[in-house]
């Protein structure tokens, strides 16, 4: 099974086994991983699911919408910034590790 690992600012780490196609946002919200809100329900419209992706993984490019939203996150945007609702495991990508930012709203 694919896995997603969440690193909290406190250093705490959670690894979850998930189904193919599970997004970083939905997995976090469904399992109560703190620090990921997902207020728009995954429509790339709220930027409250911001994460920093660890390592050099093959994720689809940011859409224009995602790119614009990432300019407006509550915690600083870096090259590793993605919207958690727009990235998923599966399709050859078996694991994802992300850092949860200090704030979302």
């Amino acid at each position: 099974m694919p896995t997603i690992t969440y690193h909290q600012p406190s250093g705490e780490r959670t690894t979850l086994e998930v189904a193919e196609g599970a997004t970083v946002m939905r997995t976090a919200v469904t399992n109560g991983v703190p620090g990921i809100v997902g207020e728009c329900g995954g429509q790339a419209m709220c930027a409250t699911c911001h994460v920093y992706v660890r390592g050099d993984v093959a994720l689809p490019e940011r859409s224009e919408d995602e790119d614009e939203m990432l300019d407006c996150t509550s915690s600083e945007r870096t090259d590793a910034s993605r919207l958690g609702c727009q990235i998923a495991v599966g399709g050859g990508l078996d694991s994802l590790e992300v850092d949860v930012p200090a704030s979302q709203v």
Binding site: R26, C40, G41, G42, M45, A47, D65, E68, C72
Partner: protein, 442 residues
Amino acid sequence: MPGVVIVGAGQAGIEAACVLREAGYARSVTVLGEERGTPYQRPPLSKDLSAGGELPLLPLRAPRALAELGVTVIEGARATRLLRGERLVEYTAADGRPHRLEYEHLILATGGTARGTGPGGGQRPGEDAAGVHRLRTREDAQALASALRTARSVAVIGGGVIGLEFASISAAARVPTTVLERGQRILRRFVGGESAAWLHGRHEDRGVRILRQATVEGFERTEDGPVAAVLLAGGGRLEADLVLVGTGVTPAVSLAADAGLECAGGITVDARLRTADPRISAIGDCASFVSPHAPAPLRLESVQNATDQARFVGRALAAELAAPADLAGRADAAEPGGAPAPAQQNYVDLPWFWSVQAGVKVQVAGLATDAGASVVIGDPSAGKFSVLRFAGERLVCVESIGRPADHLAARRLLAAGDGPTLAEARAGRIESLKSWNAVVPV
């Protein structure tokens, strides 16, 4: 000591419960929720719905997260009566047994129910027929998804946000879809005329037929009972085997009203979201509140409104109800031993909305109105533009289609009250709101 009781385990109620805890409230937090199962987000119901498909529910917060915070949610519990003198709420538990719960503060977050097509939101004859749907709960969405699998023609009553979101889905599923709008134009409560006209065209391009000034008078049923057609004023008849009534929401006010609290188009609350009883607040879809962004009391149905009001009330109560001992050591604490200073600020948050329909994302910051001047920036022909709305010279609302950065900038500018003036916008040099700050000469 009794704690805070919240009626309604929806967007507002769950958020308020969590914020109370996160802000340090130490006594019990209990949420009574009539719906069964894990409390869930409603917006995906009309966006992730697909013909015949399973609808993956998105929880508001995971049960584990609620438990860790120390929030008790009683599922299947319907509050039936408030005894304000004794600070008690009566409820019927999932097993049908009556219970009572004492509170030191009560938050009403009861949301609302889908309106019918009749006067006052009631149902017209035939509206209870099989095939006539509403869309408010997960059960509604599941029923719609399975009905859409076999539907031959869809009629949506009401050209509002939910009706048009569903029409987008049913038309994309290649089911002939007609929207019946009673007024002169669609989306009257959501966007102004320019955006509505643009979206109207876009819906029609994608196969949604929209009839305006179409007033529903009743429903025709087939012999074995299900709906066969929608009947219109003036003798029109529209065949449909799937009807979605999307005529809005009736706020759930009966608990408050029966307890003698004022209700006028919602549970009446003041600028701090309190009812006339200082121990009872109301938030979210059920509350009629005053706002610096609106000339008259208003009731809004949005995630922003539910969560921001929940955060406001949760934080204010956590500060106000904290026992002096709880406050010791907190940076913002009042003098130890002295009465904690109640938070006296008003709720002033800027309303904002979003919708996904006709294949585009629509975001609105502020309250749309057709009064006043407007300026369009961006490129409507490319499906990427924003409409800036003004009251006099002052920017009051921005509607963005395919321009999320404008929307986020607009929220910031409107909240701070320093957006471009009408004259500045008309001078025609605003390419995007995001870069607006950069171009203002100080």
